[in-house]
Homo-oligomer: 215 residues x 2
Amino acid sequence: MPEKPIQMNPHPSEKTIARLSLYRRCLRELAQGGSHHTYSHELAKLAGVTAAQVRRDLMVVGYDGSPRRGYEVKGLYQSIGQFLDGAIEQKAVLIGVGNLGRAILAYFHGKTPNLEIVAAFDNDPQKIDRVVMSCRCFSMTCIEEIIARERVQTAIITVPADEAQRVTDVVIQAGVQGILNFAPVRLQVPAGVFVEQMDMAVALQKVAYFSRQRQ
Amino acid sequence: MPEKPIQMNPHPSEKTIARLSLYRRCLRELAQGGSHHTYSHELAKLAGVTAAQVRRDLMVVGYDGSPRRGYEVKGLYQSIGQFLDGAIEQKAVLIGVGNLGRAILAYFHGKTPNLEIVAAFDNDPQKIDRVVMSCRCFSMTCIEEIIARERVQTAIITVPADEAQRVTDVVIQAGVQGILNFAPVRLQVPAGVFVEQMDMAVALQKVAYFSRQRQ
DNA sequence: TTAACAATGTTATTTATTTCACAAATAATA
DNA sequence: TATTATTTGTGAAATAAATAACATTGTTAA
């Protein structure tokens, strides 16, 4: 193989980051299935992409496979983990403990040790100061205080559309750098804050359109 | 303006379809706010894209705006609707009435008249034959029968990861052409079936990564 | 009536992303 | 030990997507 230059891609794309996260999940499954090593084409098949895509994505991680042997499953898993998670543990909060909020709390509980949801917020007195899906639920009046105290960097927004911008302003004021937004609104945020839109309505329309196209 | 050729883009991209759906939502809000006409740059600002992007996307719809006046809000809204929805009403089903399933049922109820969720399915006897979030819930043993009878084209999958592939095989067997999948698995589907993956874990990892990068 | 303006529709250009292709490398085999 | 087969890592090519540019045109106003 050609000599590797000591220089790393400065800005991996969003798509690459998303796929790396996917590869990590596939590697976890491979490890649980007892595999010790794997190949780009195997990983590609599991992730639903091409082998070339896998190899190119892995360039940013800086983990070297072996020709003929491929990648060591555990080693690559940990390398991707280091790359995606960074050194210090990250914290997230969730705002809006409706059905969607509860689903997300349940889904993530214990799954991602390097990115824990440390608190949930709602206005409903029935929920405040209770533990919902293993997560402590607080009044929305405490958002700023807890985000600042716990050094939370990420917020998951699962409130109705008409509350989303207000909540966004509060969490950013408190120091949040990234938002996962499920409300069907484009959030206005200052430069430097990352927003990922999970738009279920748009996604469903897309499926409906293309399923009609293919009949 | 140059003469318009009577030829339409045969295959609008997934991204264009997604944005058209977004524009439609923005137009609805404009209409509710009392606007009668709008411009590509206004729509662009609302949708969080560029004006050139808006105009390019609108080419596939075949709705002509007027120089100087821009687009008629109601007319463009309906044109996009016709384009996305098609002539005949589409039906969807939802499989897995957990927290996530309920959230989606609640969210879509009555919102999209051209794409109705006509039935939900679960194995829990507590839910079977009840109405959950205004949607009738059936046993999973009835999936094939109801999809075939109602000519359902789209399925929303909100079951746990280890059931997703089994459910997928059933709904495709019954005639479904498109799937919106919330389970964290790459579904194996035959060619011609469209799958849209809503991967909450990947999305959260992405936000965590980029929020860390920007601090 | 005509001139100036501002917005459209579309082509051309640029940028981003994916795929291809292949030298270099290494394990397995003879 | 030499040979073969197969996979990696990455530059080059191809494809896809976004942006810029602009001729055209309806509207407004002098």
